[in-house]
Homo-oligomer: 137 residues x 4
């Protein structure tokens, strides 16, 4: 892991006071940790606007398990050459609905395209693609 550097940041007393209050509520132990999180989040958001960047994604789907098309498409997805499924989790929410979380790797553009395909399947009630940048987090 890279070494640690220490930088100085100047900011208005009032802004610092409001920040200290907020991060205490959020449960942070130190300002550095809170600022590192802000920086990481910004870097992450920035990388994920690039369709060619490598990313890890957690795709969350809620679907009616009576819909069989979704099963087939999920299986196809596992055999995709473009995206690499790492792992998945299946939860029975109730009589009708399942929640599936699929963790996969691939390019941002490919992941988004695949996400749209999944969400459009009949029987899929909700879908989210959580993109997480895959380098220098």
């Amino acid at each position: 892991m890279a070494g640690i550097e220490r930088i100085g940041v100047s900011l208005e007393k009032e802004l610092l006071g409001a920040f200290d209050k907020l991060i205490a509520e959020k449960g942070y132990q130190s300002r550095s940790e809170a600022i590192r999180d802000l920086i990481r989040q910004q870097l992450n958001d920035n990388r994920l606007t690039n369709d060619k960047a490598e990313a890890v994604a957690a795709v969350v789907l809620v679907y009616d398990h009576h819909a069989t098309a979704i099963m087939e498409r999920l299986t196809e997805l596992q055999h995709s050459h473009v995206l690499k499924t790492i792992s998945s989790l299946h939860v029975h929410l109730d009589h009708h609905d399942c929640l599936e979380v699929i963790v996969l790797r691939g390019k941002v553009g490919e992941i988004n395209k695949m996400g749209e395909k999944l969400i459009s399947i009949k029987g899929v009630k909700l879908g989210r693609v959580n993109l997480l940048a895959n380098e220098g987090l």
Copy 2:
């Protein structure tokens, strides 16, 4: 499951043409399915602004597995009386980083509060709370 109703929707030719093109790209088989998804998403978003509403959430965390505090807090979370963990998934991303997906039930306000607590732990590099409404999806 409830019966199916059929309603009429009037809209400009041009708007309909653009919509048909978009949903074909997204892979929808019918307009009804695409419109149901739009409606569900809007209902879902609306419910999730209510702190008291019951929801299912998929919390996604990336963290440095050398950070031990996160382990303890994740264990505490499993024993929470306010939120009910349903299932979780753990993925080794690389030498340093793990991805954890935790599926849980509880009130929107409690889930968000818990999410902030988790994200603020030292060693957690990224965190997302995916709220999914828990009724009438």
Copy 3:
């Protein structure tokens, strides 16, 4: 303006009931109007992911009017050959802060780049770029 078409949409009774309740709260006069808005919003979001698409943007800035650099850059912006400023609005919020709304036309990619430049200027406290698609709304 294009002619009006009428399409049929089938959806579960329960989903329709929840939708009717929500749009009544929001103040819609008809389902068609509410569904048209959902469709337009989706089309708009989709277009705005394309860096080359023409768009109208309302850029909202809050800044300390003692910061002179921002004035210069705003002036440069008015003379840009890439973006075309249509109109702007200046509001004195209090002793220190001004709010400026700039309405302009240009390509999505150029507007976003310009937005980042403006937000990074010392003295700019907050900035938002509201992109609005420029065709077939």
Copy 4:
């Protein structure tokens, strides 16, 4: 204005390197300025989750100017006792469409409610509410 404080932040070399690169692209002159913007943005987002907080908002609407209902509602809005319109800007986009920016003050909850009402009016094609926190920016 409050005095300036200087705090120390420790972070990994690699994270700092990526941050320096990003803020150079965005056009920042100093790390302090970039970090202050991240902090302000977080504070702002946090405040705006509180329905009771005072805020300034820039409401952006695109509408068909043949729709007369919108005009009436916009006029009512100017005379509201709950929200205080500060200023507004009207732009003719083309033959059919107008863009209106309304800058107003009020409580977050009231502003959001009003925004939904405006967006639901027949003839309004797109609407956005830009909330900006109104204290300690």
